[in-house]
Amino acid sequence: MFIAHRISGLLILGYLYLHLILLSAVLLPHGAKHFNAVAGVVKAPLFIGADLVLFGIVLVHGLNGIRLIVADFGGMIRSSRLGIWLTMTTAALLLGLGVLVLLPDIVR
């Protein structure tokens, strides 16, 4: 989980800059036209699928982070099997919920 936390963190940091670059379309001359074009492109099923992959990475990083905070302040063992199992199960359930919510946008 130590390595997974770092890799997911770096991926999310990379996405932050990708996100800012795409939103920067609004800063171009005739920014409104370019921004709305970008917003139209990222609605494509392929991008929604990529969003779900990103959502999964965010869930793993966020829930594992909560687990570590609970371990730091609540006296749980950092490498507790139950804690890791709870983290991954919750991540899987929330990702499943995300898939259900976004499915209509993928299969149109």
């Binding site: 609004v26 800063l27 001359p29 920014g31 409104a32 709305n36 917003a39 909560i66």
Partner: protein
């Protein structure tokens, strides 16, 4: 002929080890909890929005969204770059670590201003932004 000596010893730190609880340590956890709230809200709000310049401008007319968006921007940049700093300082020590810290500080300030410029473009119609 010069031979390369590869040390198997752990690197010797010239500075005393960081205290177990530092401000950076506390802030990393504080921003983590804030991010669960800010990012959760961000994903929720953006999902139910048909994103376009007009819609974003309309949303940002409500001042609470400006506070939430700037709050998310600052916390995500601090948390992300401090996390990266934590990874990098394990590989680099001494003068290089300080150089990395300064670089990340400047990158962080640049990123916050970049994000704010994007927000301000929606709010106050950036000189380049032509609507319609």
């Amino acid at each position: 002929m010069a031979t390369e000596h590869v040390s198997t010893e752990p690197p010797v730190h010239s500075e005393p080890l960081q205290p177990a609880v530092s401000w950076a340590w506390v802030l990393q956890r504080f921003t983590a909890i804030l991010l669960v709230v800010f990012l959760g809200g961000h994903l929720w709000v953006e999902h139910f929005m048909n994103t376009s310049v007009a819609v974003v401008t309309e949303r940002l007319r409500n001042g609470i969204f400006v506070v939430l968006d700037v709050g998310l921007l600052v916390t995500v940049v601090y948390h992300g770059l401090n996390g990266l700093h934590g990874i990098l300082k394990e590989t680099w020590d001494g003068a290089r670590a300080r150089w990395v810290l300064y670089f990340l500080l400047i990158l962080g300030m640049f990123t916050v201003f970049w994000g704010m410029d994007i927000l301000w473009a929606f709010l106050y119609h950036h000189p380049f932004l032509v609507i319609g």
